[in-house]
Structure formats: C-alpha cells, structure tokens
Symmetry: C2
C-alpha cells in the first residue's frame, strides 16, 4: 500500500497561504494559538494517522463488525483508537476550553479530520460522530445533560451517534414515528425503531449516546412535531452506575464498503423502559438536529475528498513505477518501456483526480473558515458567514462525493487490470467512497435544499453574498495578467449561473415548485463546478505570487504542479458547465411529462 | 431480487422494428431462418437465463473460484451450465451448419448473449469465450486443428480462452515474451507466463484450450514477431487420450466483482513440455487475434449494457414499491407518502439509465447487424460494413462500459441507503460492471485506437461512411415534423464532430502524434455521445411511426416511454458534447506541459 495518503505541503498551502488561519489568532477566541501550535497539531495528527489508523485500513475492511448476542463486536483496536482520540484531545479539539477542549479553529481541526479520514475512513467516523453529538448537547442541552454526557463522549469513553432514520422516514424526516411519552420522573420513555445508525453500538466504548429524533405523544404531525432526545444505550442509574436502557440492536447491515463502521438497526423501548432526556424545547428537534446534520454534511464532503486523496496517491505511486508502452511515434520495441505517468492520457487522469481533490478540499476548508470567521466577527458579519455556510453546505457535501467517486474510479483505472484485483486497495477505496452521495441526505435532497431553500431564502441574500465573494476573487485575479483570462472564464460562468437561477425562479413563478425543482440536481452540479473553479482561482492567485518569486527545487515542483492542475480544471472541468447551462435553460419538461406507466415495457 | 433483468419488448423492437433482422433471411446465408425461428430462439434464451443462470447470480459472487492443488474449482453448477450451453447449441449458434452450428445471424445471437449476461454476467462469459476462441481457430487454423479442438469447444466440453496479457505486456502487446520453440514433431514448445486469463482453468470442463500469443524463437521484436498458437491445458495424446500439457495455474486473482469467473495466472512450459500448435502463418498472430479481440470488445460493450439493464430493472422495481415523501407543494404530513418513482428527480435517474442502456444496446446491435450485412453483401459493401464495424468497435466497447458504470451507480442511488447494503444486489452490479473499461483494452487504449487509427486510416474512409450513415438517419428524421428539431440537433453535433476531427488532424500535422492523441479519450467520449444520439434518432423514427398509429394499452406505454427516453437523451445527454467540443478545440496542451516532477508534492 502506498505510504502517502495526503499532501502535507498542500494542507499547509491551503491553511496558511490561501486561507490565512493565523489571522484568526488575532481574535480573543483563538488568541491562545499561533502557527507553531497549528503546525504541531497537524504534525501530531499525521503521525497518529500513520501509526494508528493507516495500518488497520485493509484489515478493518475484512474483519467487519459482528452482532453477537445483542452486542456489536467492532474491530478490536477501536477501543484503543477511541482512547487515543479521547486522551489526545482529538474529539474535543474544537470545543471551548471550559469543556476541556482545545478551542482549535475549525480550519485546523478540519484538516486533522481530513488526515484521519484519508488514513482510514471507517476508523475516523467514530470520533467525529462523538464530537458532533456532543456539540449538539452543548449547543442546546441543559447544564445537567452536558455534565452527564459530554465529558465521557469527548474523552472517547462513550460513543455519540445521530439517530434519525426510520424504515419509513429516510429522506422524509417528517414521517418519523418514534414516540416519546413523558414519565413520572420528568423525562421520557421512547419507543420505536431506528435504522442505518452509524456506530449505533459497539464494544470499543462503555456506552453509546444517541441523539435521537422522536415525537412527543400528541405532538403535531410532520416536522413541527419532532423533538430531540439524548437516549443512551445505558442510562446512569441513581448511584451513578450504568444500567441497560432497553435499546437492542436488531441487525447490523452488510455493506458495499465503509465496512469498519457498524451500521445498525435499533429497537427502542421494546419493554417500555427506554429513558430519554429532552434536549432544549419540545418540537424544536429538527431545527437542533440540523446543526449536527449540516456539520455532518460538510464532514461527508471532507471524508469523500479524503478517500479520493488516498486513492490518488496510491495511483500516483503506481503510475511512476509501472512501465508500459513507449512514447507515441517512437515505437522501437527494443527500447525499454516508459513509466506510464509519462503518457498524456495518464497525466490527464492524474490531473483530473488532483483537481477534484484539491478543489474539494479548498471548498471544505472554505466552509470551516466561514465557521471560524463567525466566531470572531461582528453580528452583521456573522449573519453573512452563516448564510454563506448554509448555501455552500449542500455543495460541499455533494461535489466532493459525486466527483470523488469519479476520481477514485480514475485512480482504479490508472492501475489497469491490477486495480480491479484485491492486491491493490483501489477497489476498497471505490467501495468506501460510494456511500457519500447517499448518507446525510442524498444528492437529490441536496439539490432541492440548495435551489429550493438556500438560493431563494431571505430574498436571495445568501446568493448575493456568494456572488460578491466569488466576484471579489475574480477582481483580484484580473489584476494579474497571467490570470485575467481565467478570471474572465469564471466571470462568464458566474453570470451564466445567475441567468440560470433567474430563469428557474421565473419557472417557479409561472409553473410552481415541481417544475422549478425538477432539475435541481443538475443545478447543484452546475453550482458545484463553478464553486470549485472559484476555489481554484483563489488558489491560483497565491500560486502566481509564489511562482513570481522563482521558487527552487521541491517548492518549484509543487507550485508548477498546482498551476498545471489549476489549468487542467479550467480547460477540462469548467467547460462541463456548458451542457448543464444548455439543459437548465431549456424549457422542455421531459421528466414531468414522463408518467409512471411509461416505465412499463 | 427483481424478476426482470431485460425488456423483451425492447429486444424485439430493436431486432425487428429498428434493425429489420428478417431482411437477412432473404439471403442464402440465413435463408433457413425466419422470424418465428428468431422468436423461438430469443424465448428459449430467456427461459434458459431465467431458470439456469439467474438463480445463481448472487451465490456465484459469494462462492468464488478457488485454486486447490493446482486445479481451479469453479462454482459447481458451471459444469451443467456448460453442458446446457453446449447441448442446446448456444455456443455454436453463430457457427455455420457444416460445423454443427445454427448459422444464426449475429444480431439474434447477440441478443441471446445480452440476455445471458444480464441474467448472470460471470456465468455468461464462459460460453462466449469458447465461441470466440473456436471462431479464431475456424477462421485461421488448419482443418486438423479445427477438427481436433472446435467440436469439443462448441459442445461445451472444453473451455476456450484468449491468452494475451503478460506481466510486462498488458496494453503494450508488442512486449509479449512468451517463447515458442519449434520441436521435432513439427509443432512448438511454449515457455512463459500469462496473467489475467479469464476462465484460464476450471473444473466445469474437461479441458481448456488457450488461444495464445507467443514469439517464435528468433522472431523480430515488437508486434511483427508475434504468432498465434492453440495451447491446450491437456494435449491430445497419440491414442486420443488427454495428457497434461505443462501449464500450471500459479494464482487466481481476487477481484472487486465479476467474481464468478476465475481470472488466472498461468505458468507455461516450466518443464519445457508445453506443446502448442501454430494457427495460420508465423508472425501474423496479432492480426488474427484482433478478430477475437474485436469481437470481445463488442462483447464487453454488450456485457456492460446487460449488467446496467439488470441494475435498472432492480431499481425500477424498488422505485415503484418504495414510498417516501409527498408531491412538492403538497406537504401535508397526514397524507400518505407516494412511491418515489413519482418524484421528478427519480424519473430523471431512471430515464438516464434507460437512455444509456437502450442507446448502448442499439449501438451493439448495430455492430452485430453490420457483421450480418457483411455476410450477405457484395464485396464493395462488405468493405464498407467492415470499416464501419472497425470504426465503431472502440465506441461500442467504451460508451456502454463507461456510461454503464454511471447508470449502475444511479441504479444504486435509486435505492438510497438500502442500495449500499447487501440486501439488494445494487452493490454487486456496480462491482461487476467496473471491469468493463479495463479489460479488452482500457478506455485510454480505445481512444487512441479510434482517433489514431480508425478515424484516419484509408484517408478517413471509415469516417466518411459513418458520416453518411448518420446523415441518412438525420435526413429520414427531418421528414417528420416531430423529429425535425432533434434531427437538426444531431446534425449540428455531427458537424461539430467533423470540425473537431479536422482540428485534431491539423494538430497532428503541425505538432505530431503526441499532441494529436493527448485528448483521444475525450474524443472517444464525444464520438460516443453523438453515436448514441444517432441510435436514438434511428429508434425515434420508428417510435413516431408507431405512435402515429395510436397504439393502446401496453404498446402505448412502451412507445410513449421510448419517446420520453429519446427526449431525455437529446435534452440531457447530447448537450454534454458542448463541453467536450470546447475542450477539444482548445489548443492549450495542459497535459503535455505537465511534467512528471510536477506531481511531487
């Protein structure tokens, strides 16, 4: 297996040269940090990933979690992983000092999680879920709830989960049926069934804390009647001891990939003895849960990018080493074969992967950076960053997931026949990454979220801020003669996006929501390509500044490689917008005219 | 598992209404057949697929072939499959009567193989390989070779293979090193190593007959020194008994999918006792092998289409049954949820799959039909069809393979979270289909074959015929007012393809072959989209004729569904050419400027 799974140089390029994370340390919230601290954290994260997570990557795919006598047995090392993550402060890294966290900027923390996910995606999910669930409790829960659950979760002793999905309520959370009845102790008794719960049970921790959506008996139907509960696998008894809380694992799913994390089906309250603790106000559950869901969506984009990164470095390694064929036009068969990386088509495949991965990572980091800026900004600026984050969340979830699959598939293609065999991990990467357009809201759901909600809400204010952000990058790039051409191309694409948006809003007004959102998935795809072009242009400004200083050696190679990848993206990927624009401004409602009966054949 | 894996109605639509296969029966070569015979053959093929192959689909994925004491143990039922295929005449179906074949047109035979591949891809490969290998012997081998090997192969008793690839010679067949030394008996002794040999050994047959490329000792280097041999696992001894022929299976590959077929590594002549029999003339081996390779390439396109078809019908079944969400704008949560097939985005995903599958199948059938037309045509027309077939082979291999993966991935997406779980076969389809852009020449190789060879050879004669064929469809479509718009769109795309081709030939002249072929893969992609548009327009002419007769019931649904799928393709898929045309006419040589060192980071 290739030793490398991320580019450390690129991480630092993004963190310090593109997004200036050290600026954050000028504000009180992050004043305890400096660049040295960030460097040390990244280096420690990389070391942990290499030593602890990476060696288990393939074995965790084979030794999958098993359900034995009602208990999920995870890969044995998960317990030590969770301890390391807990003791090392990795789960609590983004939490405030008063919760024993490191109060690390999300930008830095996000890159650490990227490293972990690239090393071993399944292993990286456990601590991230705990952090997200704990954040939900600290954001909306009572001090008692925080005290009772959060330290154990951040310490890696208890697992956190998000428990939303039910058999009849996947994309449609309005249909959640798990019921919570008030009990005599001021809490609730829950009854229902949850499916597809990641890390929903395992023996690598002493307890599992579900952040669960349920409906208080008598609550209004639909999303307005959903509340959020903390529902532990084992509740804390009167003497502080842990007691079984009437949750049973009814099955564990066998999956295409992502096999190191148990995905479980839970039966809740079969004996009417499952206690749950309300988080915040009744009927506000979905709103609260959206905090964790939005974090999780960006996390999905980050995870997809990470898997694609590991696959890319595996492919790159192979393409340097594998010899096959000769330069075109020099076909003398007595001459030695050349490494396949020298063939133009192989370079194209590698540039494609790199452009997707480094563009996606920049977008994910942009989202983390907006989160950080919120923490240090005035109220007005906070709103801007919050809206930008909202708008970009479906994009940061989907572009890396959808394009990451294609990138990972290209990585496999680089290996030729060997890529299809188990001797190389290309197959596992491809299996692992395929989950990402599905979980935390499918691509179809993200498309509707973007166009049907984020783009139009507050009279298009988020979109206004977005256009301004991208416009600012375009203006900056136009000042550099080597970039002006590309700035013009992005400008053109951005204008087209605006035209498409107005065209679709016109359709909404004339024909209603069904016609408006029929091609929302394609709109999201268009938005994604343009957003990644923005992230590349942003990087290109820095690349040009660096190249202007005539760097030498490894730095020269790095920046020239970045430049070629940027050029690749604008020459090969950005033009894909043309077909999408054509389709999205076409008024033929093909899908709406197609009736269910038309699929009979 | 969904019961349906192909649309029988669509097969007959293509075979009789689009490509008029009954016309073939007017010629002596096929005069013994009529439509009733074709119908019976298709029905029998479907029954065989349903009864024999389909039930084993999932189990063959789990009970994979094992190497035990030098012998590959295949799935136990393979022996009865081969017997059924042999006794039923399915392997010999396309062979002439004098070889005990049925002399069936390739069009009909191809659809049978499509049915088998859709039912169980791995199982379908065994007989197809035998037929291809036998065809190579009957085309170029001596009467003695034919007599000794072909009847057993067509009877399903002996397995045929194509043995090309070696560790150092995958895409680069010029580098084949297996050596053949003349022996005293007028034959050859072979020594070498072959890898990735499909069905290279198994216990479902009594013998395995390798059609093997090797270099006669002292032959010129490169492709000009490669000869073709029949090399059996067991040679026929003086008394007619079978004797071990010094071929050992050194390993069996464990793969992402396509797990029911053993892919083997063979050591040949370790004891210098492996006898081989020269096929045809020395040093002509690659030319001969291209017959089997070209057949195999179309077969790959057919297989990919078939897997995508099975995945589509599984997804369709699920989308009809699964309820989730409500119509947009009618969000009353007390109303029942609707089947997801009613959501526009789900319809889009299904139409995408159907457009890819039915477009691909039409192209594959077009290739089969050209083969049939060759058999019944004058010499001049034969040349035309041969050139068209040559030109379309890389397209018919690649479009179905590359787009079939996306189609199958969309099928998985239709299932949501369930698609990622082993309860549904979506994951297996996705794993199975991923081999297709790799084997029988990767997509990169196909791109270079199309642009660097097929398009330009004979001063562009094949391209000239192609333009005329597509042009003829466009002219026919223009006569129908409902089709004129679409005919115009294809005309425009076809003109753009011609412009791109001329542009690239200009680059070849100015900058040489490396620059010419740098984006050959994208050229192939462009060619593929336009070719499938042609196949859809061809179908649309028939669809319009059928709809003009106001069909009722199932026929109405079928033709309206076909029409919607055709509209989908022109509205959503054809516009993808715009980005490709932009890139291919852009002169920035991004990949060529990228140096190997630029990938250091």
């Amino acid at each position: 297996m290739a030793a490398k799974f991320v580019s450390k140089r690129n991480l630092k390029f993004l963190l310090y040269e593109v997004f200036d994370a050290t600026v954050l340390t000028q504000y009180p919230a992050y004043a305890m940090h400096n660049r040295n601290v960030f460097d040390m954290v990244l280096d420690a994260g990389l070391k942990l990933a290499e030593k602890l997570l990476r060696p288990a990557y393939e074995e965790m795919d084979r030794q999958t979690p098993q359900l034995e006598a009602g208990q999920v047995k995870a890969y044995p090392a998960i317990r030590s992983f969770m301890q390391e993550f807990g003791n090392g402060g990795w789960i609590a890294a983004g939490f405030p000092l008063e919760l024993d966290g490191e109060q690390l900027p999300h930008s830095v923390n996000g890159l650490c999680r990227f490293i972990f996910a690239a090393a071993n995606y399944s292993a990286s999910v456990y601590p991230v879920l705990s952090a997200g669930a704990a954040h939900l409790i600290t954001s909306f829960g009572s001090p008692e709830l925080i005290q009772a659950f959060v330290p154990q979760m951040l310490g890696g002793k208890w697992q956190g989960t998000m428990a939303l999905t039910e058999p009849q309520a996947g994309s449609s959370l309005a249909d959640i049926m798990t019921v919570a009845e008030p009990d005599d102790e001021g809490h609730f008794r829950l009854r229902g069934q949850k499916i597809f719960i990641s890390a929903g049970d395992h023996d690598g921790v002493d307890n599992v804390v579900h952040l669960m959506l349920a409906r208080i008996a008598g609550a209004p139907p639909g999303v307005k009647g959903i509340s959020l509960f903390v529902v532990p696998k084992k509740r804390i008894g009167p003497g502080g001891q842990l007691e079984a809380n009437d949750i049973t694992v009814s099955q564990i799913y066998h999956k295409l990939g992502y096999r190191g994390t148990p995905i479980t089906e839970l039966s809740i309250g079969e004996k009417n003895n499952c206690h749950g603790y309300l988080v915040g106000e009744p009927h506000q559950g979905l709103r609260y849960m959206f905090q964790m869901m939005n974090e999780a969506r960006i996390e999905v984009g980050l995870g997809a990018t990470a898997i694609a990164s590991a696959a890319y470095y595996a492919a790159l390694d192979y393409c340097r080493m594998r010899t096959q064929g000769r330069p075109l036009g020099q076909k003398d068969p007595t001459q030695p074969q050349i490494p396949i990386i020298e063939h133009a088509d192989v370079k194209r495949m590698l540039l494609f992967q790199r452009s997707v991965i480094e563009g996606s990572l920049a977008l994910v980091l942009q989202c983390c950076y907006y989160t950080d800026l919120q923490a240090v900004s005035s109220e007005e600026a906070q709103r801007k960053y919050a809206l930008l984050l909202d708008l970009l969340t479906p994009v940061a979830k989907t572009y890396p997931s959808e394009m990451g699959i294609l990138s990972t598939s290209q990585a496999m293609q680089c290996f030729g026949g060997y890529g299809y065999c188990d001797d190389f991990p290309a197959g596992q990467y491809l299996r692992d990454i395929r989950i990402h357009p599905i979980h935390e809201g499918t691509t179809g759901i993200q498309g509707m979220d973007l166009l049907g909600r984020k783009v139009i809400q507050h009279e298009g204010l988020a979109m206004h801020f977005y256009m301004a952000e991208v416009g600012q990058t375009i203006e900056a790039a136009k000042k550099n003669t080597d970039l002006a051409k590309y700035a013009g191309q992005l400008d053109e694409a951005l204008n087209a996006l605006q035209d498409v948006t107005l065209h679709l809003i016109g359709i909404a007004q004339k024909k209603g929501p069904v016609a408006f959102l029929a091609d929302a998935t394609l709109y999201l795809e268009l938005f994604g390509i343009i957003t990644i072009a923005w992230q590349w242009l942003k990087q290109a400004i820095v690349i040009q500044q660096a190249l202007a200083k005539s760097p030498m050696g490894a730095e020269a190679a790095f920046f020239q490689g970045k430049w070629q990848t940027f050029c690749y993206y604008f020459a090969y990927e950005l033009p894909k917008t043309l077909g999408l624009i054509k389709r999205l401004t076409d008024t033929e409602a093909v899908t709406l005219k197609t009736q269910t009966v038309h699929f009979d054949d």
